[in-house]
């Protein structure tokens, strides 16, 4: 029995304190996923809290057909999507590609300078320019470290789709980083 299953069973047996253990375990993972999607500290914390609240209310109906983390991340994604839709901060793929600098004309070394300097704000700014579906896939991969099959279960799409979304997201990020990084380096 995994740790999560143990806590869930405790919760379902009436020990609601077990849910606190789940929150403690996942709080920073959830926060980092949300922050990478949303890019604002205060709002990210509120969204993370809202997602846990939904999980708290829904845990009794969690059928355990998937892992708890998969189920939780799905809630997190939907909560973040809802927030971004309300904020009308949705970038389409066409917009992302249209706004970005042409790779062939960009400075190739910009990425490597950014890698050395670790320009945190620029990386987040570039992420915000990537359309949500692509951003979600690459965040779950590179920020949370999920496998392709786990990402496909969280996002409810095929592994092939995950693969192409991650590829496209990284291409868009490269273009955006070259454009943003080229301005400051």
């Amino acid at each position: 029995m995994t740790e999560d299953v143990f806590y869930i069973e405790q919760f379902l047996d009436g020990d609601e304190k077990a849910f606190e253990a789940l929150v403690r375990k996942y709080q920073n993972r959830v926060l980092n996923i949300v922050f990478s999607l949303v890019g604002k500290d205060r709002e990210s914390e509120d969204i993370a809290q809202e997602a846990f609240l939904k999980a708290y209310r829904g845990l009794r109906s969690f059928g355990r057909r998937s892992r708890f983390s998969t189920w939780l991340y799905r809630i997190v994604m939907n909560t973040a999507y809802d927030f971004l839709r309300k904020r009308k901060n949705v970038v389409t793929e066409e917009e992302a590609l249209g706004q970005s600098a042409d790779v062939s004309g960009g400075r190739e070394d910009v990425l490597f300078v950014l890698l050395v300097k670790e320009k945190e704000a620029l990386i987040q700014k570039a992420l915000n320019k990537v359309p949500l579906a692509y951003r979600a896939a690459v965040v779950l991969k590179d920020i949370e470290g999920l496998s392709y099959s786990e990402i496909s279960r969280v996002l409810g799409c095929r592994i092939g789709t995950v693969e192409s979304r991650i590829y496209r997201a990284r291409q868009m990020l490269r273009k955006e980083l070259m454009k943003l990084g080229g301005d400051v380096i």
Partner: protein, 149 residues
Amino acid sequence: MNACARVRKLLSRYIDREAGDADTAFIEAHVAVCFSCKKELRELSCVRELLLRKERRTLPEGELARRLLREVLRQRSGQEGFSPGGMGYFARRLIFLPAIGIALSAAFLILVPRQTNRYSWEEHILSGTPTTTAMTLGLLLGTRVNSTP
């Protein structure tokens, strides 16, 4: 599909170490001779590295659980019975403090009359008898339980 197109299709899997042995061997053989695909691999690996190194946010231990507790209670005050199985754990924890207050007040009301049923506070102090905590509390609050012997 030409070799470059096939490599591009597999590149994400390769970068994320999810490609099979045959695909890995094919990509490595190809990028060794193709400048364009090698550049693509190098740059996308660099983007991945930037994300891996991206600063992680952390909240103090248990911070979100505490916020959740407050939120559950706030919602419960406006929407009775929303939590599964009646009053939730988080809600119970917050009403714990007022419950302690009520219990202490009850203990005070029971204990103080027993210790002061013969004298007024003034007489008790004048008699020089040691004063208990409960009696001191009563004095501070101006309670007069039984004024005459």
